[in-house]
Symmetry: C2
Subunit: 404 residues, 2 copies
């Protein structure tokens, strides 16, 4: 008999019928004698409605009150889900984030979990009850309501699983697992039965929309095994667990594509280590992450720096950089247009040589020659022309033999 | 500089525009240097929507989860109200019932307040902030969400006022005070400038829809002075305060009418004190209150009992009585049709004689002769034919000289 955490997102609990469907899925596990904790999001659409009402009252609503407002969304879902479980004979009880002991810092709208007590979850499970926990929310030590920001409900599920030492954490979503590449781009893309946390993390930060990197990081840190699977069918999903030697058989697990990067060029930067450091420190302080950096020495002791940022973050990055350059007394910043980022990810890269060679050969075969490249132990990313991205993904996917 | 609690009901915060209107009213007080706590209900309609969703999932939703669900309504309103205050430059912070330290028993959906700590309300007020508290809700000692049932937001306001020793508690509603009679029935009905708690209590339990009796009782017990006034104009309302000698000048303060009473006849009851006691004890245990009782001795040592109950409660009362009679081994129960209950209320009755005489003379003048009568120190109620009720109220109102 296992201890299982199941997480259902906003689409999965989007209306009364879907909540009934979730209750039936939960009952299927509970009937087999498993102890089940369910984490739910707000019904899809609810958050947008609440935000619209807030914006009608204030152009810049205070983040503390935004959290009080938004937290009502999941609170509604937990009560409705418990009612649906009761209606089919499953004993159940709801818990808000605060009641489940999810303690966060006070960075409202994007709070970080500082500890999780689990509240009385295990005691309620021992009574034979299913416990339904509100995702996305927590409370500070002093009892202020907080929300966890994007991907917050996944994080709640994984944090709850860690705190009660669950055997498995199932993330139910609208895709049925993690694929070797986006199936809409690569027709013979294959669902991966298993992945390491490290690979999932690289995929998450490489444009795979399945999960936010922070939830994967939390799972890796606390060694939580989780499964990404569909709430609309009963197919097995993809299991994400700690790195395993047997996973190394394949050099590359998958190919990810992030279409929303912008290439930033900083010219005439003083060519001193402290100048480059100041630039990246200021970007980091503003919460902006950069990728795929190259530096060229220019004339007159000046340097040119090129890197990529998320397109959404470009306006903010440009503002931060302009301020840094003003302080340094030299330099220009401009966008050099949008790029796509293609990444190949796999723990097998650590031991297999030749991954880079296969990658660049495949890219060359479709006429792609990238100058922006970044590597980690288990990932190689290249920037390329968005117009060539789909063709490149298909070539790379085939070159590594990832298809069916 | 006064410490003021203001309560706004669901209609007053029914949409974004009305919430802005509430914020403006609050600002008017705050700008004068007063410290202000605002208690708000859920937007009108929200509770019905939530109940509809619950009913779609379960024919009899668990009361604990119903509370978790319904409490989201006021939580939304507190956040929106604070945002509206911020938008017009008023520093403010929200508090849920639990955060405001409203501790209740665990009778979900109709919890009783057991104590109120006030949380950090005074500390926040001292910072110059307006504090916006969710009405209608609290939490048990162990942190379960509860709601207070009908009239719960009024009760929250009065309880908060008691705990922080407010100078005044203003109940903003859709009527602009307490009248000598229903202005829709009696054209020259007059708004009362002031009333005692006792009079307000008798009016509340005599069919005046202005406030629930439990809130008035709480105010009386904790000596909270409150004002009933309109949220749609700036007219002064009616002040309810502890009994005052000067109030005794008028024998009668007002005439109330409750149209929703049903007359119950219990026949062939064993004429023993324990039989009557058992009947009323069983009704009391079922939470049913009866009024205007008369007993007639029948034949063969049997008695007939007639009394009134709220029409809404008749079906339940009949079931309870049938069970009692089955246990007693004798008796029948039936409805003798709907009656209206007319009450005259006034602290002056204690010292003024002749109130009953004036009342019955006025009733006789319109052809009303009642056999069901009940009296308290400050109230006389009579049951009468609903078809004659309006005419009777006008005659009594005039006989006591209550008009303009």
């Amino acid at each position: 008999m296992a201890l299982i955490v199941q997480k259902y997102g906003g689409t999965s609990v989007g209306n009364v019928e879907r909540i009934k469907n979730v209750a039936a899925k939960v009952k299927a596990q509970w009937s087999q004698g498993h102890r089940v904790v369910v984490v739910v999001s707000a019904r899809s659409g609810v958050t947008n409605e609440l935000v619209a009402r807030a914006k009608a009252l204030s152009s810049l609503p205070e983040e503390r009150e935004m959290d009080v407002l938004l937290a009502t969304g999941e609170q509604e879902t937990i009560a409705l889900t418990v009612m649906a479980l009761h209606a089919i004979g499953v004993p159940a009880v709801s818990r808000t984030g605060a009641q489940a002991g999810i303690v966060t810092d006070d960075r409202h709208t994007r709070a970080r979990i500082v500890r999780i007590t689990g509240g009385d979850l295990l005691a309620r499970l021992d009574e034979g009850k299913v416990v339904v926990v509100a995702g996305f929310q927590g409370a500070t030590e002093s009892g202020e309501v907080t929300t966890l920001g994007r991907g917050g409900s996944d994080l709640t599920a994984i944090a709850v699983a860690a705190s009660i030492k669950a055997d498995l954490c199932q993330i139910y979503t609208d895709v049925d697992g993690v694929y070797t590449a986006d199936p809409r781009v690569v027709l013979d893309a294959r669902k991966l039965p298993a992945l390491s946390h490290e690979e999932m993390l690289e995929l998450a930060s490489s444009g795979s929309k399945v999960m936010q990197a922070r939830s994967v990081e939390f799972a890796q840190k606390h060694n939580v095994t989780f499964e990404v699977r569909s709430s609309f069918n009963d197919n097995p999903g993809t299991l994400i667990k700690s790195m395993d030697k047997t996973l190394e058989d394949a050099a590359v697990a998958g190919v990810a594509l992030d279409r929303s990067q912008t290439r930033v060029t900083v010219g005439d930067l003083p060519d001193r280590p402290d100048a480059v450091a100041a630039l990246f420190a200021d970007l980091g302080d503003a919460g902006l992450s950069v990728d795929m950096i190259i530096k060229n020495l220019g004339k007159d002791g000046k340097a040119n720096l090129t890197f990529s940022v998320n397109t959404d973050a470009y306006a903010k990055a440009e503002k931060v950089i302009a301020e840094t350059l003003r302080r340094l007394g030299s330099g220009t910043v401009r966008s050099a247009g949008e790029v796509a980022k293609l990444s190949v990810v796999g723990v097998g890269m650590i031991s297999h040589s030749g991954v880079a060679a296969t990658l660049f050969k495949a890219l060359a075969s479709v006429g792609v020659n990238s100058d922006l490249i970044t590597t980690s132990e288990i990932k190689i990313s290249v920037a390329l022309d968005p117009a060539k991205a789909d063709e490149a993904v298909r070539a790379v996917h085939a070159a590594f033999g990832l298809g069916k």
